[in-house]
């Protein structure tokens, strides 16, 4: 089920403050039906607050939410019968087994179809350990059980907060395939994540928020096409000169520097213009040490969110301010 506008989930002007701090500042999300939607944002951008609002755990100060085409207000808890959610860390009774936890969770909310628990334990690869107490589960196993719990009532809309947390590579691939399969069945999967590479291979649509506002939303392939990049590596001591030369090549687009110590720069140009980059740098006596072309969700994310990002946490990007000095910003004009 979806709204007349084909949206499984929509927020309009969503606002939420914690004391003087605005966590959500007029958030507008439009999540189409039947897609995997990647919900991205730096730490503290409002992702978790959004998830809490969408699952009725907290109430917004203002704005509206529509779930599966119908308003979701305080008191409309039954709307969540068609929603499965994994919000923050998965929560279970530690003294019960995985199977028993699913059974007891299934006693709340929408009814669980017969045989569903065993089916889901198989889907998340926990059949062999379903009888063990959850307190003996690893982080990844708890995460798998949390995903099974979210799928318990065969929901039309799935809200997952960092579903890949603690999963090993095989587990990540399995979950990705599961989520893609759900979307192929017409269900909508809303995934909040800081694993940009994971989102890039999984999502159809992405929404990026910063400071509680939506800064970009759209089909992932369209956004990436707009953000085509040529990445080039030069000697670190030639970075400043390279920036000057390349800014002249693409003056209308911001030029980003990634990993200054290694000498990587990124220019907003389509891949077919990569040769021009090499030629421009050679003309000023700078010889390219390495070159990549294509698109990068990480770069897009950094540009839109100002660079104080989850990617920073991983140490991949160090940005420069407009004067070329380290500033924590991801772009230079």
């Amino acid at each position: 089920m979806s709204g007349a506008d084909g949206l499984a989930l929509a927020t309009r002007g969503l606002r939420k403050s914690y004391g003087p701090r605005r966590a959500l500042d007029g958030l507008d999300l439009s999540v189409p039906t039947g897609v995997v939607y990647g919900f991205l944002g730096p730490n503290g951008a409002g992702k978790t607050t959004t998830m809490r609002v969408l699952t009725g755990l907290i109430h917004p100060d203002g704005g509206t939410v529509e779930i599966l085409g119908r308003p979701f207000r305080r008191g409309d808890r039954r709307r969540l019968f068609e929603v499965g959610a994994l919000v923050e860390s998965p929560s279970f009774y530690p003294y019960l087994s995985g199977r028993a936890n699913l059974r007891e969770l299934g006693a709340s909310g929408a009814k669980v179809p017969a045989g569903r628990i065993e089916e889901l334990l198989g889907v998340v690869g926990l059949s062999d350990r379903a009888g063990d107490k959850v307190e003996d589960y690893s982080l990844g196993m708890r995460q798998r059980l949390g995903i099974a719990a979210a799928l318990l009532s065969d929901p039309q809309l799935l809200l997952l907060d960092e579903p890949a947390n603690g999963l090993d590579p095989a587990g990540m691939v399995a979950i990705r395939d599961t989520l893609r399969a759900l979307a192929a069945q017409g269900k909508t999967v809303f995934v909040s994540s800081h694993l940009l590479a994971e989102v890039q291979v999984m999502a159809d649509v992405v929404g990026i928020i910063a400071a509680g506002k939506l800064v970009r939303e759209g089909q992932l392939k369209d956004l990436l096409a707009m953000e085509a990049l040529v990445k080039v590596r030069v000697q670190p001591d030639q970075v400043t000169a390279a920036i000057a030369a390349l800014t002249a090549l693409a003056p209308a687009e911001p030029l980003a520097e990634s990993d200054r110590e290694a000498g990587w720069l990124a220019v907003h140009l389509p891949a077919e213009r990569a040769a021009e980059v090499s030629k421009t740098l050679a003309a000023v006596g700078i010889y390219v040490l390495g070159m990549e072309s294509g698109t990068d969700l990480e770069m897009l994310f950094l540009e839109l969110t100002g660079g104080s990002s989850a990617a920073d946490d991983e140490g991949k990007f160090v940005g420069l301010g407009t004067n070329g000095s380290p500033s924590g910003k991801g772009t230079v004009a």
């Binding site: 009725g56 755990l57 907290i58 808890r77 039954r78 929560s91 007891e104 709340s108 929408a110």
Partner: protein, 277 residues
């Protein structure tokens, strides 16, 4: 109903349930058997009126039909404290483990979930109290044999006939104490904080009772004790020593007010709370 049954399943598998029951039963059996041994050996008897009262009081623990009262009183007082802690542990863990969050995110009513959880606690407490009382009576019979006291009053039909109603009143009173623990832990959103504050409240009220008995008789624990203070057997020496307390029926009304009030506070708080973590 499925939420209630789920609550029973969860509680029956929880270690805290069995530890609480074990503590209650273990302590009552231990004390009654020790009293039986002490009476038999004349321990602490000494001389003088005080010693006579003391040995008489000890004998009542193992002398029927007075033992029916003493065991009921023991189950009420120690069971009440344990129920307070148990209620706090159950409610606090729903917040601490995040299981309330999971249920709410599935569209479950917060108030319904909390009240159903408490209903499950109430049902288990009823079963636990009856079992503990039966075990306590068996221990009293054994204690009587150890003490060399006659058990001829065991079949006192007048006393036995009053026991079901007395047990219901004890259950209701203990339930009020469990509700207080439940509510305190809900407000604190924590098992440990709920248990800690609950214990402080319990002993704080007892201490205040020494200084302000006229005021404290309206407080929840004093009211609970007074509400269940039905002598099912004939009045005994210790009954006369009871300090300021409300009449049982008046106290019962007060217990109902405290019980409903506590659950109301827990419900309103749960309904309005911002759930995170």
């Amino acid at each position: 109903m499925r939420l209630f049954l789920s609550g029973l399943r969860k509680l029956s598998r929880r270690l805290a349930t069995w530890v609480t029951f074990g503590l209650l039963v273990g302590l009552v059996v231990l004390i009654v058997l020790a009293v039986g041994g002490a009476v038999n050996g004349g321990v602490g008897a000494g001389n003088g009126p005080a010693a006579t009262v003391r040995i008489q009081t000890m004998k009542e623990f193992v002398t029927f039909p007075q033992a029916y009262d003493r065991m009921l009183d023991f189950v009420l007082r120690f069971g009440g404290l344990l129920a307070l802690l148990y209620g706090a542990a159950i409610a606090g863990s729903e917040w601490g483990w995040g299981t309330l969050k999971s249920a709410v995110a599935r569209g479950e009513s917060r108030v319904g979930y909390m009240l159903t959880s408490f209903a499950s606690i109430a049902a288990l407490i009823a079963v636990g109290l009856v079992l503990a009382y039966v075990i306590a009576l068996v221990a009293a019979v054994v204690g009587a044999n150890i003490a060399g006291v006659s058990t001829s009053g065991l079949n006192d039909s007048a006393t036995i006939g009053q026991i079901p109603l007395a047990l219901v009143r004890v259950w209701f009173s203990v339930l009020e104490e469990a509700a207080l623990g439940f509510t305190i832990a809900t407000l604190a959103r924590s098992q440990l904080a709920g248990i800690g504050v609950g214990i402080a409240f319990y002993f704080g009220e007892s201490f205040a009772g020494l200084l302000l008995p006229d005021f404290v008789q309206y407080m929840p624990f004093a009211a609970a004790n007074a509400a269940a203070n039905l002598s099912v057997s004939t009045p005994t020496t210790t009954d006369a020593a009871t300090t300021a307390a409300l009449p049982a029926d008046q106290a019962l009304v007060l217990v109902a007010v405290w019980l409903v009030g506590a659950l109301l506070v827990a419900s309103v708080f749960s309904d309005r709370a911002e759930i995170a973590g």
